[in-house]
Symmetry: C2
Subunit: 236 residues, 2 copies
DNA sequence: TTTCTACTCCCCAGAAATAGCGAGGCCGGA
DNA sequence: TCCGGCCTCGCTATTTCTGGGGAGTAGAAA
């Protein structure tokens, strides 16, 4: 039994954010790296995180709205596979300034981040970073890659399980015609065009949009389509 | 070197659908199961698949539009973690009829499906199924779980890499104000409300929406917001 | 059987979005 | 320095959407 499996067991029993936090600390010990962080955006846009960053750095990050500068966030949003920080675009001036400041706060110069996406638009990142040479880091990643993916998945499963406790997965169910309507609108069709494609009158189409809107608790058509996409009941 | 690692290497070199197909066949041999299937919906809603199902079954599946009945699809859309088919809801009449027919076409009675989500709304499923007892299947899954997750990831990485060849990831870049506008609209705000929140005149807001629309190649506001969400440049 | 949901169609008035036109200031890169 | 992108504001006319109100069918569930 490796230490890692012990940690996975610990992870699988975690039911609160503090327990995930503790796992990140154990992982840091185990891998002997600067930091281990897991954070995510849930289905209603709230952000959560746990990890070994100092509160100073987290406060700084939030205060300066680095979410919109951090190339790791940008890069991971565009990718499925894990991302080595070296492969990201650090060419812009704010990005470099951000990196410089991060290092001052103890963040490693080398980093590896695994993006994950869940139902209802959930998006999460599992990051490990360290200060060492490119070669050492490459060797480390090469060796641990698989384990890191599995650990990251473990984190996300627990996080999603915690959410289900809070948001009991009340996905509104739209009828087939309502879904078609939402899909066509999401594709940019006007009501007239959508009605035409569905071979119904525009009046009828409007009824579907309305009822979909009500089911989704949306303020207007755009909102309804946005929610449909976000909760994954339609795909463009 | 296990056989599995050989297969992962094979997978990592795959550049076309046929090669993925071949890997599914190898996996079926290796694990001695009825079927191995990987299929996905890409960023523009096109569907692709490869695996060991018979063409008869695939044709039947498409013909009867089973995508909208199959509880595996439904269940996986709502989940992040891998799904054992037994844990799904087979209570509805069409679902049971579907399962019965699937078995007639050689699909296993036991199944395990791993859902995956990528950037730009990509959604994929990796499935392994077999006909055996509950106990044997549980033991098999328990033993292979980790490897299956890694293999599934391998498939998805290759599939996404193939897509980038076809859709060169030309993500339009919106200005900060344009992004704010899109985000507020996605949250259900009207133009007046959004303008108010951004502390600008509604006329100005309109300019942002218009320019965002043009950058995104969208037909109307709803379409622009839908695209922004789908390509992941905003989060609700 | 009754009830419920889904699907289809219709009208109207007011609110909102769209498609054009225009203007000026600011900042950063070529 | 000039060009381009970004941010801000204005006008008009037309089209589209929204939010109410109806009403009838069919099929499935209770």
């Amino acid at each position: 039994m490796s230490k890692l499996e012990d940690m996975q067991n610990l992870l699988n029993r975690a039911t609160a954010l503090e327990e995930l936090q503790r796992v990140t600390e154990h992982l840091r010990e185990h891998y002997q790296v600067n930091h281990v962080v897991y954070h995510w955006v849930n289905s209603v846009g709230e952000r959560f995180g746990c990890g070994t960053y100092t509160t100073d750095w987290i406060d700084r990050y939030l205060e300066k709205d680095y979410l919109h500068i951090d190339p790791v966030i940008h890069g991971c949003f565009q990718r499925f596979n894990p991302v080595d920080w070296k492969s990201l675009d650090w060419s812009s001036k704010p990005a470099r300034a951000f990196m410089k400041e991060a290092i001052e706060f103890g963040v490693g110069t080398q980093g590896y981040t695994i993006p994950m996406r869940g139902p209802n638009g959930q998006f999460a990142l599992f990051t490990m970073n360290h200060t060492c040479s490119d070669e050492d880091w490459a060797a480390f990643i090469d060796k641990q890659q698989r384990d890191l993916i599995l650990v990251a998945h473990g984190f996300n499963q627990r996080a999603l399980a915690m959410e289900e406790g809070v948001f009991p997965l009340a996905t509104p169910s739209l009828s087939p015609r309502e879904l078609s309507a939402m899909t066509l609108l999401a594709k940019g069709k006007s009501r007239a065009q959508a009605a035409d494609e569905m071979s119904i009158s525009e009046h009828t189409l409007r009824v579907y949009i309305e009822s979909a809107r009500h089911k989704l608790g949306a303020m207007n058509t755009t909102h309804a389509v946005a929610r449909s996409l976000a909760i994954g009941i339609i795909v463009v």
